[in-house]
């Protein structure tokens, strides 16, 4: 009997070994896969179990966290949701994150290992770091001015600091309150469906994620290409351009809204926004030169991140001469985000040097210790410094005695360019009013701000009245004045 008892004991030992091996399989070998299973709520519980870090504008948080006491404990709140929505995006328990909330999620949620003072030790103890803060480059006053200026209209504003590429304002209207998406449950689902079905598309970030035909504002790029290529050597010499200009290879005449464009000098053509002159200049530069300059300004670049991705602006490089003529005045397939046009203006203001734009100045731990600093951004020479100097002169002319006098600020040098872009089949769409500009206070060495404003006019009754000068320039002026004051 003794032997059989021993055998039975050995059988029990076998059962124990099976249990231990299986436990090791689940708790060690399979554990990572089980932890990452989307149906496993633990990661969500941990993620929302602590307050999310904040996004700061001008040293003050524009976000917050609310303790709901539910299983997913903390929900995102926004101090001024609609104003900053194109910057912050939303942080929803149901629908994920967008924009900065998405791009800086590691810092905000505390999962970024850089936040931990002793990463290995934290791994061992499974300690969760408190969420870090994200300090933005935004200028609160400029952001407010842009949002107020756009008002009930549909449009967008992007403002940059030309010397650094810091984004000072990024506004899109109509906007929405991202707080309405923060939590979970039926009310959030309702908000989400409502916002997505809204024909006004309030969740669209028009400043960085929507491209528009840039219209006459693109003439800054065409002028830069012409000056860089040597097609124009003196801004005050006649350009030998006809009016109307028959598009090459076709019989379609291109006309002007303004008078006195026949054979006008570049300065006059720029001030009056002569289509004929710039269409001919584009054709004279050729598709290679035009494309090179446009790409130097940032067109056709799908890789721009601020740190969330920006929709690429486009300049079509496979065009015939007639299409090139139209492309050169910002029509045909030429499309630009407001941020892109602000970059064009900033490059002009910064002696032809283009700094890549960015939104995040630095990230910090919750105690304020810096984790990451933006530092110097890559710089690109978009045009010759001499070209930039001449363009600044031309843009000043637009504001001082051209189409952009609405943008003038007393006590500051302002350069600008208006644009009224037609679009739609047969130009039946409501035109977009553009204004791009930069401003330099008299007592400063270089321009402090470059702005691009686009306004979509939604009422057909306004047709004919809409123009960059009338609608967009005052908004740009308000933003520039706000930056110069601060």
């Amino acid at each position: 009997m003794t032997r059989h008892i021993r055998n039975a004991a050995a059988f029990c030992a076998l059962l124990l070994v099976a249990l231990l091996l299986n436990a090791s399989r689940i708790q060690v070998v399979q554990a990572p896969a089980y932890d990452d299973n989307p149906a496993n709520r633990r990661q969500s519980i941990a993620r929302y179990g602590q307050p999310r870090g904040d996004i700061l504008v001008g040293g003050r948080p524009v976000t917050g966290s609310e303790d709901t006491g539910e299983q997913l404990r903390y929900e995102r709140t926004y101090a001024n949701g609609p104003l900053y929505a194109p910057v912050t995006g939303f942080a929803s328990q149901e629908y994920g994150t967008s924009f900065l909330e998405h791009a800086e999620d590691g810092t905000l949620s505390g999962t970024d290992p850089m936040l931990s003072p002793f990463p290995l030790w934290s791994d061992l103890t499974r300690a969760q770091n408190p969420g870090g803060d994200v300090v933005t480059t935004l200028d609160a006053a400029a952001q407010q001015a842009a949002y107020k200026g756009l008002g009930a209209r549909t449009g967008a504003v992007a403002a940059l600091e030309p010397a650094t590429g810091r984004i000072l304002a990024l506004v899109s209207t109509p906007s929405y309150d991202p707080e309405s998406l923060s939590g979970n449950g039926p009310s959030v689902t309702r908000s989400w469906l409502g916002l997505n079905e809204d024909p006004a598309r309030p969740m669209l970030n028009r400043a960085a994620r929507q491209t528009y035909p840039p219209g006459s504002t693109f003439k800054v790029v065409t002028a830069a290409a012409a000056l860089d290529a040597g097609v124009i050597r003196h801004v005050d010499r006649p350009t030998r351009s006809p009016d109307p200009y028959v598009l090459p290879g076709t019989t379609t005449p291109l006309r002007n809204a303004a008078e006195g464009c026949r054979n006008a000098s570049l300065r006059v053509a720029f001030e009056r926004s002569c289509n004929t002159v710039f269409a001919k200049l584009g054709v004279d530069v050729g598709v290679t030169g035009m494309a090179a300059t446009a790409q130097a300004f940032g067109f056709n670049d799908p890789g721009l991140r601020i740190p969330y991705p920006v929709s690429p602006s486009s300049f079509d490089t496979r065009v015939d001469r007639a299409q090139l003529a139209l492309s050169s005045i910002g029509q045909y397939n030429t499309r630009a985000t407001p941020l892109q046009m602000a970059m064009v203006s900033a490059a002009v203001a910064n002696r032809g040097q283009l700094r890549e734009p960015y939104l995040v100045e630095r990230t910090t731990t919750n105690r304020g210790a810096t984790v990451f600093t933006a530092g110097a951004r890559p710089v690109r020479q978009a045009m010759l410094p001499s070209t930039a100097a001449r363009l600044r002169e031309l843009m000043r002319g637009v504001v001082e005695d051209g189409t952009g006098t609405n943008a003038a600020i007393p006590g500051a040098t302002v350069g600008g360019k208006t644009g009224t872009a037609q679009h739609g089949i047969g130009n039946t769409g409501v035109p977009y009013a553009w204004f791009v500009s930069w401003a330099q206070a008299e007592d400063e060495l270089e321009p402090r701000v470059a702005v691009a404003v686009v306004v979509e006019e939604d009422a057909a009754a306004h047709r004919g009245h809409i123009s960059g000068a009338g609608v967009a320039a005052p908004i740009a002026r308000a933003v520039m004045a706000a930056v110069l004051r601060s």
Binding site: I5, R6, A8, C12, A23
Partner: protein, 454 residues
């Protein structure tokens, strides 16, 4: 203090023969103190983790557990002085840990507090322990009541059929607000009966009968009653849909038959019957087929878009524990939902104590079983040997069936983790098992003659 205690008891028994084994009651006391301290520590750790404060009942909980354990210890010291010193401390530690885990889960299910009731049941269990150790002077007395035991077991097993089913299983009876699971008590009674019957008939079972292809099968006359009772109990269990206990009875039956007769033919018969039973039940009962499907595809409900099922949640909990665990009170095992305090209590241990803690718990059970087997080896009367092996095997099989179920090793069958899980009948039964093992090991060590080390 430990040494002093040992010294005095040994000194008091000075005239005993030199071969007598040390009683080691002082070691038992020290281990009990350690077990109580560990439980109180766990209780405080839960409070600190959940509310940043030592829970207000910590002193009372520790004092209550300590007094119970001390009373049990005193009983053992007086009435079973040679008993194995590890059995009681293991029982106290597992019961204390179970109370900590249930208390911890109570904090997240405020509407359904189970810890106070569990403490009451533990008190009853210890009381039964004291009664058994004090009243039962010799385990051989039980041999006389074998047929009383089996009759009682059958009554207990059939009783719940008269009561309404709870959660798909007809294994509870409700009296005055208490729900009792009579099948739990029945397993001890059946073990006593099997031991007595097999001890009386083992020669007939082992050496008579015919041989079929090198396997010797016993004669129908001795086999008849055993198989009849076994079939009856298994039928009752299938009617009550309590598959875990059914599996446990079957395993217990096979192990005890094998130990009693030493015939491998029994294992063959057992495996054959098990296979036939499993196939038949799997075909007939959709409930069982669903369990097997869950076991093979624990994440099927996730893929179907219905969220994780209980077994998936249990696996997630174990995985979240990893090597070292999240710490008591810091896991999310309440996600398992229903039965988290009973069948799935081990998932909380696995998540919050990690693989390390889980291994420690398994080893505590293994030690308990090992002490039972050791007592069986040391005893000389067949009934005592079979009883010790049977009781230890109940614990071993029960731990394997439920722990294997919640970790996905075998199909999940509802069963209580001994001492840990919520459930009054289970705690009381396990204290009875420990009491009987104490009694058996006392006899084993008392008659120690230096040949086999108990």
């Amino acid at each position: 203090m430990t040494k002093a205690g040992t010294g005095t008891t040994v000194a008091a028994d000075a005239p005993a023969p030199a071969l007598r084994i040390p009683r080691r009651r002082g070691i038992e006391l020290a281990l009990i103190v350690l077990a109580v301290l560990l439980s109180v520590y766990g209780y405080c750790a839960v409070g600190l983790a959940r509310h940043d404060a030592v829970p207000p009942g910590a002193m009372g909980y520790g004092a209550g557990l300590g007094v119970l354990a001390l009373l049990a210890h005193l009983t053992v010291r007086l009435r079973a002085p040679y008993a194995d010193p590890l059995l009681l401390p293991i029982g106290v530690l597992l019961n204390g840990l179970g109370l900590v885990l249930i208390y911890r889960l109570d904090l997240q299910t405020p509407g359904d507090r189970a810890a106070p009731a569990q403490l009451v049941w533990s008190t009853l269990g210890v009381a039964l322990f004291i009664v058994v150790v004090a009243a039962l002077r010799d385990h051989r007395v039980l041999q006389r009541y074998a047929y009383v035991c089996v009759a009682a077991a059958l009554v207990l097993l059939t009783l719940p059929i008269l009561f309404p089913a709870v959660n798909g299983a007809r294994i509870w009876i409700r009296i005055a607000g208490f729900s009792i699971q009579p099948g739990e008590f029945a397993k001890v009674l059946l073990a006593v009966f099997f031991a007595a019957y097999l001890a009386a008939n083992r020669s007939a079972l082992a050496y008579a009968g015919r041989c079929i292809w090198r396997l010797q099968f016993p004669t129908g006359r001795v086999l008849g009653p055993v198989v009849a009772i076994w079939l009856l109990s298994v039928c009752v269990l299938i009617l009550e849909r309590d598959l875990g206990t059914s599996l446990l009875f079957f395993g217990l039956f096979v192990v005890m038959l094998y130990v009693a007769t030493g015939r491998t033919g029994w294992i063959a018969v057992g495996l054959l019957l098990a296979t036939l039973g499993a196939v038949a039940v799997g075909r007939m009962e959709p409930h069982v087929a669903a369990r097997i499907h869950d076991w093979l595809h624990p994440f099927a409900s996730i893929d179907a878009g219905q969220g994780p099922g209980q077994l998936a949640q249990s696996l997630f909990a174990f995985a979240a524990g990893g090597m070292l665990g999240t710490g008591l009170g810091l896991g999310h095992s309440p996600l398992i939902g229903f039965a988290v305090k009973s069948d799935f209590i081990l998932a909380t241990a696995g998540e919050e104590l990690g693989l390390l803690g889980l291994t420690a718990i398994f080893l505590l059970y293994a030690l308990l079983v090992e002490r039972g087997y050791r007592a069986g080896l040391a005893l000389r009367d067949p009934f005592g040997r079979l009883l010790a092996v049977g009781l230890a095997s109940i614990v071993a099989l029960q731990v394997f069936v439920i722990a294997g179920g919640v970790t996905g090793l075998i199909p999940l069958t509802g069963m209580a983790m001994p001492f840990l899980a919520q459930g009054g009948s289970s705690v009381v039964t396990n204290w009875a098992i420990v009491a009987l093992l104490i009694r058996v090991s006392d006899s084993a060590r008392r008659q120690y003659d230096g040949r086999v080390a108990p």
